[in-house]
């Protein structure tokens, strides 16, 4: 396991995607502190499973591990997470306040519009937030997103459509005032 060649391959293939891993964890947990813990645990898991990695896309492989690590953490920390969590979030999305542990000063918000987009994306229900984030921030293809999230490409497309629709609503009222 501690084969130096394996360790070197891991450093060359997986380590460069740390920022992607951190960004995904950050948008999943909506808080920097938990995101760091999730990423660290994900890297421990990734290192452990790395000898079995045969794919050609280490970033998608790593992001899938980050996502699984997050969901394990989420289930344990938010009680029994279930499909109903998403529904509740959909209904409250419009009034959702920023997460209490959120740390906006850490992200150097440069403008009001940037802040608005940030809050809108944070208010998006988890299942839409992850695909939108992977597409718009990480610029993954549908195929890669399907691999990370473990859903068919058609579902990637429909979730992106629904997610953008919700975001359009969340961003709309302020547009009219401006």
């Amino acid at each position: 396991m501690a084969d130096p060649i394996v360790a070197q391959r891991f450093k060359a293939l997986v380590l460069p995607h740390l920022s992607s891993a951190f960004n995904l964890a950050r948008w999943l947990t909506r808080n920097d502190h938990d995101a760091q813990d999730v990423v660290q645990e994900a890297y421990l898991r990734a290192y452990k499973f790395f000898p079995g990695f045969r794919g050609e896309d280490p970033r998608s492989w790593l992001l899938a591990i980050v996502r699984n690590t997050f969901y394990t953490w989420y289930q344990q920390n938010r009680g029994q997470a279930s499909a109903t969590v998403f529904d509740e979030e959909i209904h409250s999305a419009e009034t959702a306040a920023p997460h209490p542990h959120d740390n906006p000063e850490a992200m150097l918000i440069r403008s009001e519009s940037q802040k608005r987009v940030h809050q809108a994306l944070q208010a998006l229900p988890l299942e839409f937030r992850e695909v939108v984030m992977l597409r718009e921030l990480e610029e993954l293809s549908y195929k890669q997103i399907a691999a990370v999230v473990g859903i068919p490409m058609g579902t990637v497309m429909s979730r992106l459509g629904r997610g953008r629709q919700l975001l359009a609503k969340l961003l709309a009222p302020m547009d009219q005032e401006a």
Binding site: Y47, M107, L167
Partner: protein, 278 residues
Amino acid sequence: MNHEQALELLPGYLDEELSLSEALEIQRHLDSCEECAQVLAQHRDVSAQLRAAQLRMDAPPELVKRIEAALPGRSAPWARVGERFKRWGSSNSRSSSSRWLTWPTWATAGVMVASVAALSVSMSLYLAVPSSEDRLTQEVVDDHIRSLQFNHLSDVISTDKHTVKPWFNGKLDFAPPVIDLVQQGYPLIGGRLDYVDGRTVAVMVYRYKLHPINLYVWPSNGSGIGIDRQLREPAIHERQGYHLAHWSAGGMTYWAITDAGEGELRGFVTDLRAQPSS
């Protein structure tokens, strides 16, 4: 292409993920459909706003350091990272936490010195490297402890073997026998994948009262470890306060570990072995 179909494919059109023929059909539809054209414009605007907001951040330097320092090559800090997720039952300072990392380092060092004093060093190397069974025992103990930390005991949580068994499909190159022992007082609570003895293995998680029991299963052949002697009546071992048992049956190697007592583990193993595999 009708309106509903076009509406469904709009995200793919925007992201240039459609086939050429689909894209052409959407274009044709857009020329005549006000609603779709509006939705597309709206989505394009959302996408542009997200990208313009530059929400992507670099990983914080302290996280980069934490993870870089944790990678082997410098094996000690790696163990320290593990520490965050493990609470060691024993205060044994030559903690097992890093044995899977440190022993090959020893071996590497040994090989270098060996060119100078081959015989004596290779002798001490032989003594320093734990036996394969001992090492595997330690690996299972470490993994068990780790599974109790960071709440990742189970990746699939279910008390139904018909849920747990299909969950492993496509994740492993073998089908682990999944047996429910709820009648015997050891309910199955879930399963996960783990990495033991250089391969991906199935782990079934059972519970005796409040004590989790991890049952590791993998095919016996090719383990190359040699502990796969036909172990008919598994003995119960103790390591760092945990009880372990291992045996082979039906071409599979089994390791069970728990913090429950010796008698409870023995009961579990006996009940498990009495069941026909499913």
